[in-house]
Symmetry: C2
């Protein structure tokens, strides 16, 4: 896979967004969040998303100039209107405030309405680590999940990220959706003409299916079916737990901000999607001695790593460990697949921004 | 199944615990939490647990007289030592304090170490509903979960409960473990001589197995294997998400209180088990208008209920709905299976407490 220098890539993304009317600061924040995803080997949320942002800005559903408005503020809480701005700009600015408030009050949380796609959830949770806080980042998203016993998509893949500082060990850093797999994984299997496990998706009748092409076609035609919650469709694998978790994350994001929820997110064609987020931070030092906490995290992580392995398995992974290793590998360059490189070239050509990598 | 009057059942449990040295208040709290589980049709955490509590009190690993000690307190946080008391007593008293603090500060949380089994997690989350708060209740537990790529149990079935007030609709009320199924479900399948789905448990080599008898035997002999995380063993069903969630809940319970984690919980035979909890509450009114929030919850719940159903399915359930219906059914009597009735009679005979139901 081609490897692309981070500095020229960042300059390119910034210039593209500026061409579309984003202030320099907004363009830089958005570029940083996208590239962080590529650095962590999560290409689905990296610069491959730029094309969609370009289209949404051109369609007027993202206002690249908009800054968030605080609707209500207490010592521990914030309610924010994103004013249909760039999700990354809104979430980063609000998380900075949440972190300040948590440092003062022990914990704090913001519920945000009327935002847009904000990239990887983990970016904002990770911001808390620099201040020795626990960071939490949650978002709702376009409906792609079929609830247990449902036939159509109602909830988003609604991810949660959870970052916890450690001492000698790398931070514990979870970032995952509440569906078993993302839509992109179905696309990979469709390209490879492979069957998918029955726990991943349902067909237009609501029954589990092994045919990824059928699911993707149904999704485009809104014919029914979609992604299964974590645990799978039906009750055998306890998929209702994934469904309930997705609903919980929607409540924290959309209900606490009186924003869009479920099918209302991306619910009106041509209108801003109304994506909602929930960002929180908690100070371990408001509970116990910080160094003792970090040492406790270290010994817990070591307990997991050192536990006996499954026959044939080499290691037990800690949440975020694979991504930390990727980040260490991708300090100056990130891997981009050919279609993404072509896409960026096309965007550059259209907007008159030179794509020299 | 025999149905037993709640009032005489409560009197019996209270008397048994008093005989064992529990102050009246402690006995009453414990009885109420146990019976609430039976009322909600969750017999695994109901009065069927009394036998184990009796044994633990007799063995000295539960001190029925102990009250919790606050080790540290800020406006939003509490760290508590349970002093090896009854889990129900500790958790109820601490949750009362958490609720007061959340009413004052918008949100609050307690991390508790050195406690015992506290019954259904949901009991304490539900307490928040009476004050129009969102309630969260988390605990670690005896290690029964094999982490992804592991061979032996390291983490608990670590449940989380999450209760949210609504308006005309019943509250949204999730209470679930981070394993696909509880150990009790394997016991049911073993009795019925039925195979279990491969997503439920692993054998002594760490491989998925359909044989519940083998898993239960291995558990007793500590030969390896155990329950799979939500999503199943391995990566296909994204079981690492269930594993990571269990770890997150252990961190909030055990790391923030500097308590026991993972294999340390119930880690030393004859010593108090060191169970840890995390209890939190959040005030929707600190974010938005309370009535508007409740109306938003109602419309979200209705959106889910009214969504198209899977072919052959009659309804889409909301978290807690089945249990609310059970509670409405079990206002004055609860169903108890024969073995539980026999067990209670035996306890009564041993302790000289009349079992007249």
């Amino acid at each position: 896979m081609p490897r692309v220098g981070i500095e020229p890539l960042r300059r390119f993304v910034v210039e593209v967004l500026e061409k579309l009317g984003a202030p320099r600061e907004h363009a830089e924040i958005t570029a940083d969040v996208l590239i962080e995803s590529d650095k962590r080997d999560i290409p689905s949320h990296g610069v491959a998303r730029l094309e969609r942002y370009v289209k949404d800005i051109q369609a007027g559903t993202i206002d690249p100039k908009a800054t968030p408005t605080i609707l209500k503020e207490t010592k521990t809480t914030l309610v924010v209107d994103g004013n249909a701005g760039l999700g990354q700009v809104i979430a980063k600015k609000v998380m900075e405030r949440v972190i300040e408030k948590a440092k003062e009050s022990g914990m704090a949380a913001a519920s945000i309405r009327n935002s847009n796609h904000y990239g990887i959830a983990g970016y904002y949770a990770k911001m808390a680590l620099a201040k020795d806080l626990i960071g939490i980042s949650i978002t709702n998203s376009a409906p792609l999940m079929v609830p247990t016993f449902g036939r159509t998509v109602v909830l988003g893949t609604n991810p949660v990220a959870f970052a916890v500082p450690a001492g000698k060990e790398r931070p514990f850093f979870f970032d995952g959706a509440t569906t078993t797999v993302p839509r992109g994984k179905l696309e990979v299997y469709a390209r490879l003409k492979k069957e998918i496990p029955l726990s991943w998706a349902t067909d237009e009748t609501g029954a589990p299916t092994s045919d990824p092409v059928r699911v993707l076609k149904n999704m485009i035609e809104r014919a029914g079916g979609g992604l299964a919650p974590l645990g799978g469709s039906g009750e055998e694998g306890a998929g209702y737990k994934g469904y309930d978790m997705s609903a919980i994350l929607d409540i924290l994001s959309g209900a606490l901000s009186l924003g869009a929820m479920g099918t209302e997110v991306y619910g009106t064609k041509g209108a801003p999607p109304g994506v909602c987020h929930f960002l929180a931070a908690m100070d371990p030092a408001a509970f116990v001695d910080l160094d003792a906490f970090k040492a406790r995290m270290d010994s817990f992580i070591q307990m997991l790593k050192n536990a006996p392995k499954q026959e044939g398995a080499e290691r037990i992974w800690i949440a975020g460990e694979k991504e930390w290793l990727a980040e260490e590998r991708n300090r100056t360059e990130v891997p981009l697949d050919e279609p993404t490189v072509e896409q960026l070239k096309k965007i550059g050509a259209e907007l008159g921004v030179e794509f020299k990598l």
